[in-house]
């Protein structure tokens, strides 16, 4: 369960970095989620999109890439290039990278081409 704190303010929303690779059968999405705990990730998958929400556990007064913004959560909606079966999607979280493997729904229907009379 995600913590229900009032942190989902648009000003504090950070967009995570995403890397998408595709093969014939699947789409693999890698999402960089630093400062996030596994239990604070909410992943939703529909046939056509993936939605990620994750609470950032802490923010810092940074030495090397200092910014004036305090981020409290990540949010990202990714439209899928091909429809999928949401129940077959797999996800794992390692080194603060969320790896989502999405099988492609390659079910096709042959269409009969009719002739003009």
């Amino acid at each position: 369960m995600m913590e229900t704190v009032e942190i989902f303010n648009d000003e504090n929303r950070a967009e995570p970095l995403v890397h998408i690779t595709e093969s014939k059968d699947k789409t693999v999405i890698m999402v960089d989620l630093p400062c996030v705990r596994k239990q604070n990730i909410d992943l939703k998958v529909s046939k056509k999109a993936v939605e990620i929400n994750a609470i950032i556990k802490n923010t810092f007064a940074e030495d090397y890439f200092k910014k004036g913004v305090r981020w409290t959560f990540f949010h990202k909606i990714i439209d899928l290039p091909t429809e999928t079966f949401p129940e077959k999607v797999k996800a794992k979280f390692e080194k603060n990278v969320l790896l989502i493997t999405i099988p492609k729904n390659r079910k096709v229907k042959r269409i009969k081409i009719e002739c003009w009379e």
């Binding site: 970095l17 960089d32 400062c35 923010t59 090397y64």
Partner: protein
């Protein structure tokens, strides 16, 4: 024709065959993270910068001070080049030439070009390998002190390639140290591996524990720079891919 960039020295330093580190935004931002960490740990002051009319309209402010876009930090023994933004494609050739010529004029002991090398299995990797490319026999000898693995075949794209070619053509001592890295995410862990290698080769003792501890923090705050760097990398990659297609047709 006038070069599109100009190197400005702001401090008069009596260099003693310095070691030079070049770390610009690249794959996994490894070059940038390494350069900034070394600047911080060795407390290297800004001693110069690069000026160009072709820089984008951007102003970077750090600790309430306006920053030069491409900075040179150093002392009499160490010089570090780094940039606040990905280097615009338009100035790559001139910038490489101006920096390389300046390094030669300062009689540098050795130049290290540090960065990342994209590895699609990076997430599963237990050991991060540093791929090394020396430009001279002398550089090869120094390389043996580290744990780098010689890069034996492949293509290097971008600024690192330009520096290596320039050093190779002019028989200047240079070594590229490119650690396995995420392509699209900042990679402090790979950066720490590069620093460990520099420690071995140069007899330095820069601890990397703090860098690893701050890894998440760096990843969180360097997202914008990573995103912009990736856009530039994609532009660089395109002509090379087109050319490869022609070559193997």
């Amino acid at each position: 024709m006038e070069p599109s960039v100009r190197l400005v020295e702001t401090k008069n330093i009596n260099f003693k065959n310095p070691v030079v580190i070049i770390g610009f935004p690249d794959v996994g931002l490894v070059g940038t993270i390494v350069a900034r960490y070394i600047i911080d740990k060795l407390k290297l002051e800004e001693i110069g910068h690069i000026e160009s009319n072709l820089f984008p309209p951007i102003l970077v402010i750090h600790n309430e001070k306006i920053q030069n876009i491409i900075q040179i930090n150093g002392n009499e023994n160490v010089i570090v080049f780094t940039s606040e933004i990905p280097v615009p494609l338009e100035i790559l050739n001139d910038l490489t030439k101006v920096i390389a010529d300046w390094i030669t004029s300062k009689k540098a002991e050795m130049t290290f070009i540090v960065g990342g090398m994209p590895n699609q299995n990076r997430l599963e990797m237990k050991t991060i390998v540093t791929h090394a490319i020396p430009t001279t026999h002398r550089a090869s000898a120094i390389l043996n002190k580290g744990k780098g693995q010689l890069f034996d075949e492949g293509v290097i794209i971008g600024m690192n390639a330009l520096f290596l070619r320039k050093f190779f053509e002019e028989k200047s001592d240079g070594i590229a140290l490119l650690a396995d890295s995420f392509l699209a995410f900042p990679d402090p862990e790979s950066s720490a591996v590069v620093i460990e290698n520099l420690n071995k080769m140069l007899g330095w003792n820069i601890e990397t524990k703090k860098l690893l501890e701050k890894g998440d923090e760096i990843r969180l705050n360097a997202r914008d720079l990573m995103k912009k760097t990736r856009e530039i990398l994609n532009k660089m990659r395109k002509p090379v891919e087109d050319e490869s297609t022609m070559m193997y047709r």
